[in-house]
Amino acid sequence: MAQLTYREAVSLSIAQCMRKDDKVVFLGEDVGAAGGVFKATVGLLEEFGPKRVRDTPISEQAILGATMGAAMVGLRPIAEIMFSDFLAVCWDLIANEIAKTRYMSDGQISLPLVVRTGNGAGSKFGAQHSQSLENWSMAVPGLKVVAPSNPKDVIGLMTSAVADPDPVIFYEHKSLYPMKEEVIDTNFTIPLGEANLLHKGNDACIISLGLMAQRSLEAAIVLKEKHNISVTVIDLRCLVPLDLQSIKREVKKSGIIFTVEENPRLCGWGAEISSIIVEQCFDQLKTPIIRITTPHIPIPSADILENNTIPSTELIIETLANKLKKI
């Protein structure tokens, strides 16, 4: 295997899971014959047939209901909700049913399932096809929350998510689908809840995930080259379970923390992480935590508007450079 795109990593990792375990099934809208609207599931129907790869009607509640019921009795279904924005029409299944059933049943029911969904902005699709909603699922007890930032992580995290005995919401970033990476070996796993250091530095730390992790990495490289600022970039990869130890280690090291979040400002995942840092590591902070987020607005559509709404590499560079100049 040489160059692999993020979208190829999705189909490759699903295929590997399906080859290993015939309890793994896959369903969603346009996922089979069409190969997915983002072409992230090309070839699965051809390899595994319509019994295991099922095209569904546009019925998100029916998709997730079938997913949950099948998982209850031992299948390991992977469902696709085409755009994460559509989670709103089946949120009852996610938040009330899938998340709570194990707890309410006193452990009688296990739900080994994965809900994959296309997340995030960058495609100029407007406010109902561009949201970053990982913080929604982070707020509901009983859901594991994964958001990979590169093709390798897609493979490692998907493999772990499918093998996991609990429900996982898997946020794939739409703007990362074309991202290419050299992947030699595709048989590996990345444990859920293990953050990745994308860049190492001593002056400050950026905490991020998904597309924002890639932009933070670009920013870190420029900050080093042009501003002589060395920054650690933590790619959380998972919000639940959260790798709190990696975060605390970086707080201790530099004491200067930024979060870069694609979600709108209020109750973004960085708010919770900031609160934990303040509660547990206040003495180690040299300066207040700065959260770089999308403003508290829906995502607009035009190029110039969308580009200036979600955090850009330039905004990250500028914010860090200005802040660190003053310290």
């Binding site: 029916a62 049913e97 309410m104 049943s105 006193d106 029911i109 379970p241 790798d243």
Partner: protein
């Protein structure tokens, strides 16, 4: 003399009578325990609707699956859940089916095929498709049954699920218990068709089935037909069973919105227990046998109640257990 159709036979009729009484007497006990303030929270009784759950309980096989609503005590018992498991859960005791973690509206007893009781109207209909899909996938021959009320037919999940069940030809039987009221409002007042479930069946290329939900024999016959059809691989059915609640929607509801003559007629003349007692006598079953079953169930209910009253509160550590499959609720390292 009227010729009697004895297609059901004495053995099954005794099973049906036993089941009817079990469901009736446990529900009545649940109500008594409310009045004694031993059951907290809300509760939705199936008094008057027992023939539906009873018939399916008798007709189903051990390997089959059942999905209930928040009005699910009766359906849960009908699959073999213990009385103390059900009453104990209502009372929030250690002996409850879920040791108090679910409560009245979420009764679950997986070992008896009860895959949960769902308190969000309609949510469980698509989920029932899932167990049916797994049975089809693994070719186990298990059938899924899914019970719900008339009000559920106006929520989107009902329509999404029926369509998917049909196109995937799933082994599932959907049973709408039409008791004429969606909570407090007459269903006719808020529904575009006369029969809220049966009149929608054609939209999903399913047969229109309306049955007297207070006649346990009629219910048993349709249960057999639809379960057999699903087990053969001939796909889903949608049944509308006509019935009536003897009490209000929930414990807080005295049901004053229903005309007195209407509820009196149903309770006096169309009560499934009264109907079936008469039926048994018509078929020559001795009064003494009928009574001895009744006394035996009464005794079982009293014994279960005593167990529940003696059962301790659940241990407080239970709060943090079983969010995840590892038994705990940790969200960070």
């Amino acid at each position: 003399m009227v010729e009697l159709n004895d297609d059901i036979g004495e053995k099954k009729r005794i099973e049906l009578w036993t089941m009817l009484l079990k469901l009736r007497l446990v529900e009545k006990k649940a109500y008594d325990l409310f009045l004694q303030n031993l059951v907290k929270g809300t509760s939705h009784l199936a008094l008057g609707q027992e023939a539906i759950g009873s018939a399916f309980g008798v007709a189903l096989e051990k390997k089959d699956f059942t999905f209930c609503t928040y009005r699910g005590h009766a359906h849960t018992l009908s699959r073999g859940a213990s009385m103390e498991g059900v009453l104990g859960e209502l009372m929030g005791r250690e002996c409850g089916l879920m040791r108090g973690k679910g409560g009245s509206m979420h009764l679950t007893d997986v070992k008896n095929g009860v895959m949960g009781s769902y308190a969000i109207v309609g949510a469980h209909i698509p989920i029932a498709n899932g167990t049916a899909w797994a049975s089809q996938y693994n070719n186990t021959g298990a059938v899924t049954t899914c019970f719900f009320g008339d009000g559920t037919t106006n929520i989107g999940a009902f329509h999404e699920a029926l369509n998917m069940a049909k196109i995937w030809k799933l082994p599932v039987v959907f049973i709408c218990e039409n008791n004429f009221y969606m909570e407090y409002t007459p269903i006719r007042q808020v529904t575009s068709v006369e029969n809220p479930a049966a009149d929608r069946a054609s939209a999903y290329n399913m047969e229109k089935i309306i049955v007297d939900g207070n006649d346990a024999d009629e219910m048993y016959r349709i249960a057999k037909i639809t379960i057999d059809k699903a087990r053969r691989g001939d796909g889903p059915s949608l049944i509308e069973a006509i019935t009536y609640r003897h009490s209000g929607h929930s414990r807080a509801d005295p049901a004053k919105y229903r005309p007195k003559e209407e509820s009196e007629e149903w309770i006096k003349n169309r009560d499934p227990i009264k109907i079936y007692r008469k039926r048994l006598i018509e078929f020559g079953i001795k009064e003494s046998k009928i009574l001895s079953i009744e006394n035996s169930i009464k005794d079982q209910v009293e014994k279960a109640t005593a167990i529940c009253k003696k059962s301790p509160d659940p241990k407080i550590d239970l709060i943090h257990t079983d969010l995840w499959s590892n038994g705990g609720s940790e969200w960070h390292n």
